[in-house]
Symmetry: C3
């Protein structure tokens, strides 16, 4: 593809060489003369200048040397994502239903679907057009899904789940497993509280490998439009994620947690039950909270508090033995003096 | 169902309106006039009074207004769990064996079982009556299971596992995967120690989505009667859980951990190998221990210590930069004075 | 098997009773007179002396009583691993392809393979000889694998993956799921960055149940020869593990992490993106780092620092309330005195 055509497809400003043929995409270190590469941040310009890439997507703030053809983009990372789509389209199976798939006669599958080997789809399911359902995905009865679902191998979607458009589920994801609800008897044993709610997932949601979204106990667990959930993450019953929430890998949310729009929970974060995490708030990796967190802030620690304070506290923590020694000396000194 | 009939089914004291028709169950906020709802704690009576619920299950300590029909229960949460069972029975497939299931001729499946599409059951397996085995569950050879197993889609039960009655396995659970046992050679590489033990699971155990119970290295990994294990939890080889143990989501137990009766490990807790966690002890979320913990206490922190002390320590930790500043000032002051 | 024959198979020095018949292997507490057992460490000699084992594998440093037949080994744990292999061989299905397996006609499967029920293997896959592929494993197209793969039930290997010889994947492992790459738009929503790289796994690697190795975003995620990865572990896109790396259960690596040869990350450790963990370094359980860690050291804490310092800091932390009280007293005393 010619660089000029890419510029027009990506909505970028073209700097130099409209006729350059771009054949692929690659990282700055790996790129060759026919590859498009990507500079995320003007502060890393040295890496860009050392690259053998044929052309670069660059941010607005940087002026490249004249000899380096560039696509300047208001949102360079978004533009590069689109370039990858155009230049290295991901593998995608062709439409068609594998004869080994077991689709209940009452289920409706929209036009253009790919249904792979050994897929099982239960009664009264309704899937919109353009679905790609890889081998061994299992959809229990009474599931309703919008257009263009991508469900990878071994995805499980349990009964009654409702999913919007353009949702992608990576391998091994479990949607609608029972919530962890048990009532303790006086003798110390537990009675199961039947989990009869469901899961409702919006549009443009991606949930990655082996993550689990539990069904609501009586009502719904909800994942809002545009939210992204990384591998091995736990979303317990009755949680509500608003729009564009990001849960990084191995995050764990206990029951009835509410995460407001645009919040980001980094890897291995934990949130105890019935807490609210405010809009746009960031919780750094391995932190945890058992209380609500305000909107628009950054929190760290377990239990979590203001990130800047946490930086100071952890710096001191690493020398805590020394601090204790100093306090001991002060006490001894004062005791000697007061004698 | 009439409220009087519910009262008798649940063994509750009926307060008002025996003829009220109860059609469903719902949370206090969501309930309508034909729903039964649930007050867990008398301190939340205001929420109950604001509810539109037709009737409530309530604890012994609370006297409702006369106009509000109630079922007073000695164990209100247990009674409500039973009410959910009666009023909103969870979906359950009918008995019958899907023609696509591959059951080895030597395997014995008890009466009344449901065996779903593409289920694979190996040779010499024996399953008790009333099993529900959802599509794509895989049972390796020589597995023995009691009555009323529920195994959801993509459950894997490896060879030689022994399971009691009334066990429920949510989707993606792996029972009997190899333990993580390797012997380090002098050259730094690792030799696999074959994991030839098995897993033994008692009765009334529930293990939730994508959790892993590793087989013993030489002998057994054991999960005691009534224990409940949440999503994405790791139980390593040779662990022994006694009765009614609760492991919340993403807990990780290293090898040969022993958890005594009734202990509760909250989300993301970790226990190092060869430790014993005493009877009834609670470890709060994200805590970890590499030593034994006494019975009947509450522990927090990583490494974990007494919960009340931990509350004090974490309160100070959040102001640790300030504490360090104070100590510095004290030292400077004393130095000035001693000159 | 006679003890003398075992000694010769294991390359051990035989102490006493060459004609002893050894029938099995067992732990020191569980062993009977016909079992071989194992003493890892001379400091635990008391346990060995209390054992009913017929014979023991022992380390070089220990001289057993004359009546106790022993195999003295330079690497006793490695020798015992080999003994387990000989005396209690793990179950392994016989070669043969189940008629229900769906193998694309263009796929090549090496000689002597076992392919279980409902296995799905995509086009242009090439597998070396001696593979054991358990029921329900799914191999997407264009995957290349060396000799003697063991893939347990519900393993997913996505398109384009390259794997060496003697690799074992426990149930539910996902190789090549999409990395977590999204570009944030100015309106707060996210655009997916297509993940078009692949996963490259060396030889003698074992990955355990339900762990996830994400594909590279543009290039490869790499797992070096001999590395061992425990259950429920997350390896993000573009990570590179060198040889003989150990990741214990529930470890999480963010994108582009580099782990050098022989490093050991204990359970629930987290590493932020673009960090390097030096050769042979050990990170203790539940620790985390967002910076590089030097080679050959031991680190602890979140954020992690020198392990010995961490031991001091955590000891003080448990008494931090007391330390704060002491500082307050010192300040009050000095204030009184300076009046």
């Amino acid at each position: 593809m010619k660089l000029s055509q890419l510029a027009s497809e990506l909505g970028c400003e073209l700097l130099g060489k409209p006729d350059l043929e771009v054949a692929g995409v690659a990282g700055l270190e790996e790129a060759g003369p026919s590859d498009l590469s990507f500079l995320a941040d003007a502060r890393q310009a040295a890496r860009a200048l050392a690259s053998r890439a044929g052309a670069l997507v660059i941010p607005a703030g940087w002026t490249p040397p004249e000899a380096l053809p560039c696509l300047r983009a208001p949102e360079p990372e978004v533009a590069f994502a689109r370039a990858v789509e155009l230049l290295r389209p991901a593998w995608r199976p062709a439409p068609g239903v594998d004869p080994s798939a077991r689709i209940h006669p009452s289920a409706e599958i929209g036009a253009g679907a790919h249904v792979g080997a050994f897929v099982a789809i239960g009664e009264h399911c309704r899937l919109g057009p353009g679905a790609v359902i890889h081998p061994h995905a299992v959809i229990y009865p009474n599931v309703t899904i919008g257009a263009r679902l991508v469900a990878h191998a071994h995805v499980v979607i349990r009964e009654g789940t409702v999913i919007g458009d353009d949702v992608t589920l990576q391998p091994g994801v479990v949607i609608g497993g029972d919530g962890f609800g048990f009532a303790r008897r006086r003798d110390g044993s537990y009675a199961k509280i039947p989990q009869v709610g469901r899961v409702e997932i919006g549009s443009r949601v991606e949930i990655q490998s082996n993550s689990c979204i539990d069904r609501g106990s009586l009502h719904a667990t909800r994942i809002g439009d545009g939210s992204k959930i990384d591998n091995l993450t736990q979303v317990a019953h009755n949680c509500e994620l608003a729009e564009d929430v990001v849960l990084c890998a191995q995050v764990g949310l206990a029951g009835s947690t509410r995460i407001e729009t645009g919040a980001i929970l980094a890897g291995q974060v934990g949130v105890a039950g019935h807490c609210t995490i405010g809009k746009g708030t960031i919780i750094t990796a391995q932190s945890g909270t058992h209380g609500d967190l305000e909107a628009g802030k950054m929190y760290s620690g377990s239990p979590a508090f203001d990130h800047a304070d946490w930086l100071r506290s952890t710096a001191t923590f690493a020398k805590l033995g020394e601090l204790q020694r100093q306090v001991r000396q002060l006490r001894q000194k004062l005791e000697r003096e007061s004698r």
